[in-house]
Symmetry: none
Subunit: 413 residues, 2 copies
Amino acid sequence: MLCEIITIGDEILIGQIVDTNSAWMGEQLNLAGIKVHQITSVSDNAEHIVKALDEAKNRVDLILITGGLGPTKDDLTKHTLVNYFNTKLRFDEDVYQHVKALFARFGREVTELNKKQAEVPESCIVIHNANGTAPGMWFEKENKIFISMPGVPYEMKKMMSAEILPRLKQKFSLPAIVHRTVLTQGIGESFLSEIIADWENSLAEKNIKLAYLPSPGMVRLRLSASGNDETTLRKTINNKVSELEKIIPQHIYGYEKDKLEEIIGKLLKQKNQTLALAESCSGGLIAHMITSVPGSSAYFMGGVVSYSNQSKMNQLGVKKETLEKHGAVSEETVTEMALGVNEKFITDWAVATSGIAGPDGGTAEKPVGTVWIAVAGPNGMKTKKFQFGGDRERNIQVTAITALNMLRKALIT
Amino acid sequence: MLCEIITIGDEILIGQIVDTNSAWMGEQLNLAGIKVHQITSVSDNAEHIVKALDEAKNRVDLILITGGLGPTKDDLTKHTLVNYFNTKLRFDEDVYQHVKALFARFGREVTELNKKQAEVPESCIVIHNANGTAPGMWFEKENKIFISMPGVPYEMKKMMSAEILPRLKQKFSLPAIVHRTVLTQGIGESFLSEIIADWENSLAEKNIKLAYLPSPGMVRLRLSASGNDETTLRKTINNKVSELEKIIPQHIYGYEKDKLEEIIGKLLKQKNQTLALAESCSGGLIAHMITSVPGSSAYFMGGVVSYSNQSKMNQLGVKKETLEKHGAVSEETVTEMALGVNEKFITDWAVATSGIAGPDGGTAEKPVGTVWIAVAGPNGMKTKKFQFGGDRERNIQVTAITALNMLRKALIT
């Protein structure tokens, strides 16, 4: 089954926003066994949208449209679709009640503008938008399916996952596609590929494809196979994953959509233990990641972002002499930070970071990217020095990921 | 002059990478007065590429192609273009010397594979690739221009800036395009559009287009106009922006690519003042945003992520009675948090957040999304209660943005 994604919006064409929706949709569709043949981004212009729909219809079976469904005047997708499918608008009471309920949650009345979102084309199946007011629309014409969704990513994603993909899977018998993703941390893409070269070569005879998906601090390895029998495919892929686990056990931290902060949360809950953080160069990002997990207040007591030397001394009890003798970016300082926050927040575990994120602050001895991380726990203190790169944003990200993985390893030792 | 961008690569269609090249190119072309009419992403398939070229040729005057020019991708794009333009390959000595020089820089000999990159189509103008081995190719056919570039972003960007854009500007007299973006916070898209309806209607007579670009906690308003005289256009748009400033002064926090954390950084630096944070429901995100700005250590002293009641008392001096009587999510608690962190970190300014991010923890009186924010500064304390939505991640984001904007407002009062 072939699909085309059409994204609508001048803001995409003038480069004001990066179209991340298409990539996310492409990945989800691919996982479901639907091949994305083309992605087309067009302007906020009815004629242009119609032309793109017509062309797409000749190429593929399924056309997914995002963008141009908001309540404001630059929204024209709905009216264009009404004309394209030669239908008219009707007022949908269910959609209206949903819009009303969403507004009531904020203690507001529905405006006239938002009431219009309850107007839907007569010939479409209305798709529920759990995260927003503009419903999705499912049309069928000449054996082709056209589905229009809002462009706001968190509305579109929820709609795809909860409504669109399940309906597509039910309607069509899609080929079995099995994916497994192995998550690695602390080893770069090229080193990884050298170490696993033989294993990677052995995948071809089993018709398994391998993709390296790098992001700051980690590389995800995705294995994919397609065929008719899901059970066989799954067994073949699982065997290959088992082989890989023996080659790089120390680098694998999880599978599929696992997140380090969630893994850590589960481990802490199991052990009924608590965590505190003392962040310097990571600047609060580790706390943000930990607290992004629902229920994290059960094990995360809090932390200190000690960005100044003063705050390292006053809030964490780092000694003045330590800072003077060894500097803020040192094993000694990061150790005292971890011990300090551990004591202040009375927790089982503490993680501390101190480094030079850049672009300024580097020296010959401690260049930008130098980072010390400490993990203090029931079994004592672990410290490690890292040399990351020259990019501030990336250094902050990689520090956070690396610190979380050090904590994970300490938790399972 | 109309342009289409064609990006080639299966990795885009399966969502393995996000196509950031198109957005960057779109922005650069737009600034140069070239309108991007469409962006099309196609697979690594000769037939598909040819079809996309043919279709693009009927829509636009200029076709920019990226991807499929590397040494390993079997040079699909190059061979497809050779066939498409009915030409053949010739060996280009200049390109070969450049490839040799690049390899020499890494102390390596040119491989047979890389030598092939010096083979270029006879009928094209060869475009120098300062950052890589695969040259760009400029074809002309039936009064249309086709330019093929490598897909590696830093090679493509250099080629666009140094070679392609200057040549296009020289060859064509391009129209002026002027954009301005006004950034608003604290008002939803639909309410905003009601308030500015008259102003929005007045844009049509000046041929100005308006786009609403919402993201969590904010809405960006983009005004665009094109014509012959840039000075006149800029004046017209600036006048309209001035009018808007009078209608919603309290909601505008910046312009163009401004970020709240950068605006705050500049204000604090100007005033030579300092900041500390006491975060509960925002969980470290505000600290992360503030420290993402290079040089933030000059004004950001640090903060406390006080996720537990214990840490609110021990680290920030919130009174036990306050927590018992009013709860952690209350004006009284958030006030004491701000005062506490202000005192502990000895700063001019302090921001505190406390709320129920969800999904659990809500009550009838304080449902999920209830958030208190306090800003303490030289002119006293400001507190405000908000009712955000039901999504944890979004609540955290909107809390951070809203708190930063409260701080910005206090800084300029």
